[in-house]
């Protein structure tokens, strides 16, 4: 592992967080409607408004507020909710954990289902299994999560097929089965697009690998087709899938906004929608920044894992 490379990647990730938080600050500061009016309602007295502005630190110059905000982002302090007065971090943390549980389960489902299907499609390229899998992936790619969520909710939570609860969340300490039972349906609903995407990526990189010279050599040497596929091709063929999984993490951080809303799942996405309705600025800022930071971290991790697994990249740097 090249430490200089690692250091550069950390610097880029840090810079990204800095720039994104500046933009989020800029946009939310431009918002119409003052924070004091959000707290007090529109018929507040002049003095009360002034008092709230002082309490929130909004009477300070903009650049001080800006530095304070960006500094807060790096130390995990997002201020207090305008509506409940609770510290944002306190509201956010449990919700973030719940959203991550959902995202991880969804990610695992997509890997377990999509990668084998992608390999099968590549191995049977241009034959019936490939055709079936590829056509299915088109449908998956084209169903927005709010449609698949609604359909799953309609068919699997009401009689005659009331297999799942309609929504909500049960903490794992109250029973792992119950926890998973509540998590599975939203995770599936989130999956249609991601699954299709991972599948297509796996298929195309496997197809490409199977056509490469070293695979041809292996075949000519008389290596059994099974071994060609699982021993020689798989390792290289799956490398790009790591990057795709990280990209999908970003997609998930967006789609949880919709999925959690539909399944009344008390995570970050549901919080953002509420915060937008209430114009609760600190919550909106944190709700957009935290998933973005999570995504930046996921990309960073994918980059590092990729570098560790790909022998070509290592060779080039040593």
């Amino acid at each position: 592992m090249n430490y200089l490379y690692l250091l550069k990647r950390v610097a880029i990730a840090g810079l990204s967080v800095f720039v994104v938080s500046s933009v989020v600050f800029g946009v939310t500061t431009l918002l119409p409607g003052s924070a004091a009016n959000i707290v007090l309602g529109t018929e507040a007295t002049e003095e009360a408004v002034q008092q709230v502005n002082e309490d929130l630190g909004l009477d300070r110059p903009v650049y001080v507020q800006y530095l304070d905000f960006v500094g807060g982002v790096f130390t995990g302090d997002f201020g207090e909710s305008l509506i409940s007065g609770q510290p944002v971090a306190e509201i956010l943390w449990p919700r973030l954990l719940r959203t991550l549980q959902l995202a991880v389960v969804a990610m695992l489902i997509s890997m377990v289902v999509a990668i084998p299907l992608g390999i099968v499609a590549a191995a049977f390229r241009d034959r019936a299994p490939d055709f079936l899998i590829t056509s299915g992936s088109y449908v998956g790619l084209s169903i927005p999560s709010f449609v698949s969520a609604t359909l799953l909710l309609l068919f699997l939570t009401t009689p005659p097929l009331a297999l799942f609860p309609k929504g909500g969340y049960v903490p794992p300490r109250e029973g792992l089965v119950e926890w998973f039972h509540h998590l599975l349906l939203p995770a599936l609903a989130m999956n249609t697009v991601i699954l299709a995407y991972v599948l297509r990526q796996t298929r195309s990189s496997m197809v490409e690998t199977l056509e490469s010279d070293y695979i041809r050599t292996a075949r000519l040497k008389g290596v059994a087709e099974r071994n060609v596929l699982f021993k020689h091709a798989l390792r290289n063929g799956l490398l790009p899938t790591i990057t795709v999984l990280a990209l999908n993490f970003g997609w998930m951080m967006g789609s949880v906004v919709i999925i959690e809303q539909i399944f009344a799942y008390p995570g970050m996405g549901e919080m953002i929608v509420q915060a937008i309705e209430n114009r609760d600025l600190p919550l909106i800022q944190a709700g957009i920044l935290v998933p973005t930071i999570a995504f930046i971290t996921a990309n960073f991790a994918a980059d590092v894992i990729y570098t560790m697994l790909d022998p070509r990249i290592n060779l080039g740097e040593e």
Binding site: V27, T28, S142, G250, G254
Partner: protein
């Protein structure tokens, strides 16, 4: 690449193979067969819609398909077929508008970065990476929290979200093209930078850019409907697929058709753009993008 070999030939001899390839590609044909009816219906709009999409027929709420209303009616007794047709206008306008904006912003940035290289490239691409690091739906939400939600701002939000992705594709195509002999020749002839960029490079990066754009149309429609599903779209009473689906969910036990039709229209449209995108990729071969550079 075929186009390179053909530079000596005249345009008249070079074009037909591509046109034939496009016109006979099975995926493109299937995609067009799905997309064209939706587009035509959306353009004709009121002319083909059997009813005024905002006209309510209170006595016939939740009507099923068949009968007086071909696809049935919604919770206010409005004709679903007419609403799906005019909702398509919003979604398509959004998909194509946002993609056009994304191309307008992204292509010049990508061309510049790939052609000038060096520090400019590094800075531009770093900025693009940072924009990409915000999950698309969240960036859209952020923009629409600050701006009033109407169709123009939705297009603006999605266009900005997509510009960096298009810039990336354009850049990597430009990188590989800018080392080609005809570009070096043009430079040796003393052509201006803008001539080289727009006359020599741009025509030769259109393949990957067109492929990227065609895929973006579908995604833009999806994000647009997702935003209006969350109540940040063009808003009622204009019919809009995302908003129709959001409303239909509340009336799902009265009539499933209210949900089914706009969902199906959305599915068919997005699927068509995906299939066309793949077909274009087959023909225009994006391997030229030079991802490994």
């Amino acid at each position: 690449m075929a186009t390179e070999d053909a530079t000596a030939e005249t345009d008249g001899e070079r074009l037909p193979p591509i046109v034939t390839a496009l016109a006979t590609n099975r995926r493109i044909l299937v995609g067009l067969a799905l997309l064209v009816p939706v587009v035509v219906a959306a353009i004709l709009g009121e002319a083909v819609a059997p009813y005024d999409p905002t006209e309510t027929h209170v006595a016939q709420r939740y009507a099923g398909p068949g009968g007086q209303f071909i696809l049935g009616t919604d919770h206010l007794g409005r004709d679903l077929l007419s609403r799906v047709i005019l909702g398509g206008r919003t979604s398509l306008l959004l998909g194509f508008g946002a993609t056009a904006l994304g191309l307008t912003l992204g292509v010049p940035i990508g061309l510049l970065a790939g052609y000038v290289k060096g520090r400019t490239d590094e800075v531009l691409m770093r900025v693009m990476d940072i924009i990409i690091s915000v999950p698309t739906l969240l960036l859209g939400l952020l923009i629409l929290v600050a701006l009033p939600s109407n169709i123009v701002n939705v297009i603006l939000a999605i266009g900005v979200v997509y510009a960096p992705r298009i810039a990336r594709v354009t850049r990597s195509a430009t990188l590989s093209v800018s080392e080609q002999e005809y570009v070096l020749a043009a430079r040796a002839r003393g052509e201006s930078n803008s001539y080289i960029l727009f006359r020599e490079i741009l025509p030769n990066v259109t393949g990957p850019v067109v492929v990227e754009g065609s895929v973006r149309v579908g995604y833009a429609i999806m994000i647009g409907t997702a935003l209006s599903f969350l109540g940040l779209g063009s808003g009622p009473p204009n019919p809009d697929w995302g908003f129709m689906i959001a409303t239909a969910r509340e009336h799902i036990y009265q009539t499933p058709w209210f949900l089914i039709w706009p969902s199906l229209a959305l599915l068919v449209t997005v699927m068509a753009t995906n299939v066309i995108g793949d077909g274009l990729r087959d023909v225009l071969d994006p391997r030229v993008t030079g991802e490994r550079q």
